[in-house]
């Protein structure tokens, strides 16, 4: 089974801080990491390969430094990696991104595409489902377990708000996975050494045969017009004293406000 895992390099968002003076994001020296949800996708790809044989190919779209994310996936055990990188892709929204990725996935060849449920920087969760549409294949989002792959079909569990559904669909197909699905392995030393030496091809818009008018800012229907720091609610009153005193004060105040 040929498995393509689509990943994204993201900044470690937990380290993002807001400068109290300028009210802007402080992003100095924040390292890029593999989007945490994509780690589950890589792991699931590797597990399916271990169960059913085949190859795991990782794909990312991003600037040249996104290659680091691919090397991490290789260190975990992925067989091949491809970087889709082209200045013409800058400014792509989810529609343009999913289109470009789907063209690269087609070129790679696949039975199953696995994506993390969303990227932690954009948090849109749209690229996976949109890719499925561009590829014309069935898909299931929020997969928490792959039960089995047999007779050209895949059976999965989809996490819903009120439980889970067991669904079946024919391959080729696409799934997006949630963190409940597995625990990603750590890389191995031999994997890291292999990854360090690996040649990673860089594909351009032309290489994947994409329509230039459908990628980048030109191919993106949505437009970010403003980015700003969210307004915070103002801090309130600090209650002081011994624990018992504070408890009394708090209960009185909450009662007075009618919340308890």
């Amino acid at each position: 089974m040929d498995i393509v895992v689509c990943i994204k390099q993201v900044p470690e968002t937990t380290e993002v801080k807001i400068d109290p003076q300028t009210k802007t994001l402080v992003r100095e020296g924040i390292p890029g990491i593999v989007n945490p949800f994509d780690m589950y996708a890589i792991e699931e790809g590797l597990r399916l390969k271990e169960r059913y044989g085949g190859k795991v190919k990782v794909l990312t779209m991003g600037p040249p430094q996104a290659e680091d994310a691919l090397r991490e996936a290789l260190a975990m055990g992925a067989d091949e990696a491809v970087l889709l990188s082209d200045k013409a892709l800058a400014g792509s929204d989810t529609l343009a991104t999913s289109y470009a990725l789907s063209m690269a996935v087609r070129k790679l060849g696949y039975d199953l595409v696995i994506c993390g449920k969303q990227a932690v920087d954009g948090d849109t969760a749209q690229v996976g489902p949109e890719m499925a549409e561009h590829l014309g294949v069935p898909f299931v989002a929020w997969v928490r377990k792959v039960e089995e792959v047999s007779d050209g079909k895949i059976k999965v569990q989809r996490l819903m708000d009120d439980g889970y559904e067991v669904l079946e669909m024919p391959l080729p197909a696409l799934i997006t996975v949630v963190k409940e699905i597995n625990e990603p392995r750590l890389p191995s030393l031999r994997g890291k050494m292999r990854a360090r030496k690996a040649q990673i091809p860089v594909w351009t818009v032309e290489d994947i045969g994409a329509d230039p008018s459908r990628v980048g800012l030109e191919g993106s229907p949505t437009q970010v017009v403003r980015v700003f720091t969210p307004e915070r609610r103002a801090g309130g009153e600090i209650l002081q004293g011994e624990p018992e005193e504070v408890a009394d004060k708090l209960v009185e105040k909450l009662e007075a406000m009618g919340v308890i």
Partner: protein, 397 residues
């Protein structure tokens, strides 16, 4: 090709854009210099420049004739035959948007949900209900839902379609948007109409809630957005309100799904559902271990509330993910939120700061949680919480 343009006459090299750039793509060499390899054209620098020296060079987009699209639609999600609460939230927002545009509000609903439920959508503000009353749409499948919605939109041409950012909505809505070749903005927390340009102004958090982004879909229709659950209030009910019900017969090919449902397994949560709770008591890293959640549970029980947790506590394996409040967990807006031993990482704050009253108990006076707290208590939670429990027990008598 699009790029950020530095207007040489205006730029003083002040560096405000360097700080603002989320991608480290700008440096100052007398003037701002953009590293185009790193630049993603997000526009943060344009916004930050005090001198108007940066601009996003306009691009010619291959758009559509937008004037042919009219009206506001909301997708009224149903699950097991019951319309979800998020549908009423959407009707509330949708009503306002439709009024601002001077257009009709249509609720789209799939499956055999019954006349009463359909009428309820009208009571909650819909002028019109577009109802695909077909047994094959009772169960959610991406193929059928995206197919039928796209089919309707192609035929009727609404200018806006909203959907709840639920497990169902966030799954099939992107697929529908891709079918329609239009833009989609995920998980919006704010929606307005720019009346001058007749555009939907969509606001959503990004970077784990560290920044907010305002997004437009200027040249494509419909303008599509998923809306975060529990951020908007539900539409008020007006019994007897009148509206039109239009039954829709989908094309057969859109009623065939490639995914088949084998079974549904319901998982009932043992505790009060976080999203519906009026009072939430949450614990974080400060608890030090899973056993100390007993304290949180006791306080929650006394108040008749639910138990929440920060990501740190969930990641440490102290409590299941279903209790997680925050950007990667649930967004909540109870009347009372009590945070115990939670420092208040931004990703947690975005998930709870719309609570009416916030109480923070933490031993670090510098903890960011105090910046959003209505009442802050600087102290050891292992002293304060038991005291609070005692006090509440006495109150109950």
């Amino acid at each position: 090709m699009a790029r950020i343009k530095v207007i040489e006459e205006k730029c003083t090299g002040c560096g405000a854009c360097v700080d603002a750039c989320p991608f480290g793509a700008i440096r100052v060499e007398e003037m701002a210099v953009i590293d185009e390899e790193k630049c993603t054209l997000c526009g943060a620098c344009v916004e930050a420049c005090p001198l108007g020296a940066l601009e996003l060079e306009e691009v010619v987009r291959t758009g559509m004739d937008t004037s042919k699209y009219r009206g506001v639609w909301v997708f009224a999600e149903q699950r097991h035959g019951k319309v979800s609460g998020v549908a009423y939230e959407l009707l509330n927002v949708g009503r306002r948007l439709a009024d601002d545009l001077g257009e009709k509000l249509t609720a789209v609903v799939f499956g055999p949900i019954g006349e009463d439920a359909v009428r309820e959508l009208i009571y909650r503000g819909a002028d019109r209900v577009l109802w695909a009353d077909d047994e094959r749409l009772a169960q959610f499948h991406d193929d059928t839902y995206a197919g039928v919605l796209a089919e309707m939109a192609q035929a009727e041409r609404p200018e806006i379609i909203l959907c709840g950012a639920t497990s169902i909505g966030r799954s099939f809505f992107p697929k529908a948007a891709a079918k329609l070749g239009t833009g989609l903005t995920a998980d919006c927390t704010g929606l307005e109409i720019d009346k001058e340009r007749r555009l939907l102004v969509q606001t959503r958090p990004a970077f784990g809630g560290n920044i907010m982004a305002t997004i437009l879909t200027p040249d494509h229709r419909p303008q599509m957005a998923t809306v975060r659950h529990k951020v908007m209030k539900e539409a008020p009910r007006q019994e007897g309100r009148e509206g039109e019900v239009v039954k829709w017969s989908p094309r057969p090919e859109n009623l065939a799904s490639r995914t088949t449902l084998v079974e549904f397994v319901e998982e009932v949560e043992e505790t009060v559902n976080l999203a519906d709770a009026d009072i939430i008591v949450s614990g974080g890293r400060g608890l030090g271990g899973p056993e100390n959640f007993a304290l949180i549970r006791e306080l929650a029980m006394l108040l008749g509330g639910a138990v929440g947790a920060s990501r740190a506590a969930v990641d440490a394996g102290w409590i299941p993910y279903s209790h997680q409040v925050g950007q990667t967990g649930r967004t909540v807006s109870p009347k009372l939120y009590i945070a115990c031993g939670i420092s208040g990482a931004i990703q947690h704050l975005v998930g709870m700061q719309s609570s009416d009253v916030i109480v923070a108990i933490n031993k670090d006076p510098e903890a960011p949680i105090f910046k959003v707290a209505t009442f802050g208590i600087v102290g050891d939670l292992f002293e304060v919480v038991p005291a609070l429990i005692e006090r509440l027990k006495r109150r109950k008598g």
